[in-house]
Amino acid sequence: MLPVSRLGSARGYWVSPLLNHDVFRAIRQWFDPTDVDEIGTAPDYRFSLANERTFLAWLRTGLALIGGGLAVAAFVPPLRWPLVREVITVSLLLLGAAVALRAVDHWARCERAMRLGQPLPRSRFPAVLALVIGAGAVALLVVVLVSGLRT
């Protein structure tokens, strides 16, 4: 069992555990349900199921981003500028992968916090994701308007 004092801390996390030096410990927590099950006491199972549904909703968000990227690759005709289409595609794919990995990290940390009776981990990831998607949409709007004006 891992030392509770270090694992319970949510302050050190910003967007992703990948920025934290405890990255390998965090990844092991994703896979190690027996560790989760031995720590603290089991919460009402309905809370665990709600946590699971939140994880699945985030996973679908990631799948939607990945699907969007693949749709751009499959259906958008080549643009005036080379590589713009590829950049959009790869950005969406990377964003989707990041959402999926962050989803399981957040799921594991919420599960642990509930077992320990601690506050749920706070996260800036939703805000950052919203800003990134908003900025990307504005950038795409500019691309579409400029290419439309030129033709």
Binding site: L49, E52, F55, L56, A57, L70, A74, V90, G96, A97
Partner: protein
């Protein structure tokens, strides 16, 4: 809660099962889009290999989701264990395969 449970406990499992079901549907859509991107316009040996890998990943996602749906249907209340992590890695594999196909 002092007023008692406002909804039957079984509903929580039902909602979670439906959430898994929606996730398999989303994964299926993404898998079909990936196959479209991989082989429909320009089938290459590499694209076909990537399609095979995507197919395996899709089957694995389906198997995980169905085992969980089945467990929830039998009234199991244990947490999902390691399956969320494996599911997230399979979704990440979709993204990586897609990126490799584009580049």
């Amino acid at each position: 809660m002092s007023t008692g449970d406002p909804q039957p406990p079984g509903l929580q499992a039902e909602r979670t099962r439906l959430s898994w079901r929606r996730t398999t549907l989303a994964a299926t859509t993404v898998a079909l889009l990936a196959v479209t991107a991989a082989i429909v316009d320009n089938p290459t040996p590499f694209g076909l290999a990537a399609t095979a890998l995507l197919g395996f990943a899709w089957l694995a996602i389906l198997a995980i989701a169905h085992s969980r749906i089945d467990a929830l249907g039998r009234g199991v209340t244990a947490t999902a264990g390691r399956w969320p992590a494996i599911l997230a890695l399979l979704v990440t594999a979709y993204a990586v395969l897609g990126a490799v196909l584009i580049i």
